[in-house]
């Protein structure tokens, strides 16, 4: 009964969220949130900032920054500043505004038009390619058991645009001991198509439809667990359009002799991909003011790729205002069925993208979180992670994050 009356109200408020100034229904949320919740107008409740730096090195067959039949450079540097603001518009409506930015310098994309002078837009952009996203999540919380949200996303970079929208709902059961959540997203990518030399060939697109259902359960006063299943269906151009595959072709010399020469051709990918992912998480509080967490993810898709990821985290509070986290992640994947490091060009599909090959990865990291008493909920996080793949690719990640509640 409660749900049936809340849904129309929620939709109306979400659609006109900028104008929503509804009357104040008396209920228990006022008791929980107090006078703060009764304020009208936007009230900033939380601000978070983060800066992450990635330094990648390694070799991959898809990169042209190397020998024609060998692996090219995958050297890459990314600086990633982020800003997140949570504002309350109404006692039941909050907005989360999030601006992630990536500043990417990539070696392999720079080599697209290595024989072309002057370099075209793509290569210029790849030297320093800024990507900016804007993500707006509006959440309506109904009395006691129900919340729903609407999300809009925009992403832009030199040659790429992306738009996304989605809705989600959460229902709490058994005095919040159990929570069921669902969400659905539709994303449209629209980007430039290049040939193997970096010439622009117009625009192409990709559609992603994603649905998720999750279940969270409090198991004991110190244990909580979560499972989630997600399905993504993608259609359209699945590659970045400039990944190349080594090949051997036959040519005729001026003397009339036939000779074999090394060359590269564009990868050929199916125009559809169906992805399944099943995730399990569990967290256990430890009596010495610590916690241990476990994570498992199973993934399979119709390109033949199957993957497993395991992660463990150990957290320990050292003093009341400081806790540290150590983490290790192991990941293994099979290759897609059409992966190759040398194609004859007569198969329907082929790729040399090292991300789609068979490999294992390890990630070892540590993070410290310090409470900053200048603000309510103020904190400063500093961390480092080392990621390495069995095919030689390595990434060093340094991170910094600070935030506060108001």
């Amino acid at each position: 009964m409660q749900l049936s009356t809340s849904l129309p109200i929620a939709f109306a408020l979400l659609l006109s969220s900028g104008l929503a100034r509804g009357s104040e229904p008396p209920n228990d949320i006022d008791e929980v949130l107090g006078e703060h919740a009764k304020r009208r107008g936007f009230v900033v409740e939380r601000v978070e900032t983060a800066m992450t730096g990635y330094q990648q090195d390694g070799l991959g067959y898809q990169s042209k920054q190397g020998p024609t039949l060998g692996r090219g450079s995958q050297r890459l540097t990314v600086f990633q500043p982020q800003l997140l603001v949570v504002a309350r518009q109404h006692e039941r409506i909050t907005h989360r505004l999030w601006f992630p930015v990536d500043i990417v310098t990539a070696a392999s994309a720079n080599a697209i038009d290595i024989a072309r002078k002057p370099p075209d837009m793509m290569s210029q952009a790849s030297r320093v390619n800024q990507t900016i996203s804007f993500d707006w999540l509006t959440t309506y919380t109904a009395p006691r058991v129900f919340a729903m949200s609407a999300r809009n996303m925009v992403h832009t970079e030199e040659h790429f645009r992306s738009w996304g929208a989605g809705v989600g709902a959460t229902v709490s059961l058994a005095e919040d001991n159990s929570t069921i959540s669902t969400s659905a997203y539709q994303i449209l990518d629209w980007f430039t198509r290049f040939d193997i030399l970096g010439h622009k060939l117009g625009r192409t697109s990709r559609s992603t439809t994603n649905g998720n259902v999750g279940f969270t359960q409090i198991l004991t006063p110190t244990t909580i667990a979560h499972v989630n299943y997600g399905l993504s269906a993608q259609y359209g151009e699945m590659g970045n359009t400039w990944n190349s595959v080594p090949t051997l072709t036959t040519a005729v010399t001026s003397a009339g002799a036939r000779t074999t020469i090394a060359a590269r051709v564009l990868e050929q990918l199916p125009r559809q991909r169906i992805r399944h992912a099943l995730v399990g998480r569990v967290a256990q509080y430890l009596p010495w003011d610590g916690a241990v967490k476990g994570f498992y993810r199973f993934y399979a898709d119709d390109w033949g790729l199957v993957a497993h990821a395991f992660e463990g985290q150990l957290l320990q509070r050292l003093i009341p205002s400081l806790y540290v986290r150590g983490s290790y992640r192991y990941y293994t994947q099979s290759s897609v069925s059409f992966f190759t490091s040398l194609t004859r060009g007569d198969d329907a599909f082929y790729t040399a993208d090292s991300d789609l090959g068979r490999f294992d990865t390890h990630t070892l990291g540590g993070k410290a979180t310090i409470d900053v008493p200048l603000f309510e909920g103020g904190h400063l996080d500093i961390g480092y992670e080392r990621y390495w793949r069995t095919d030689g690719l390595t990434v060093n990640v340094a991170l910094w994050q600070a935030g506060a509640r108001f």
């Binding site: 790429f160 992603t208 509080y285």
Partner: protein, 69 residues
């Protein structure tokens, strides 16, 4: 898959257990958060989804614009 089924069955059975709100103090500790915050989630996606073939399907969008490799 068998392990996943065991976890599902265990959680379903555990749903019969109700922990009262006044005994959930430890669960409210930030260390016990089951999911990372938004900024850390994005950081992890950037690290993993652009370097591994198993992106998406669990509440995150697959694909994206990064032509890093």
């Amino acid at each position: 898959m068998r392990g996943v089924l065991v976890v599902l069955v265990a959680m379903t059975a555990a749903a019969c257990v109700r922990v009262p709100q006044n005994r959930r103090g430890h669960l409210a500790d930030p260390m016990m958060s089951l999911t990372d915050d938004t900024l850390e989630t994005y950081r992890k996606q950037k690290l993993y989804n652009t370097r591994e073939g198993a992106a998406g399907g669990d509440g995150t969008a697959a694909g994206g614009g990064c032509g890093c490799n």
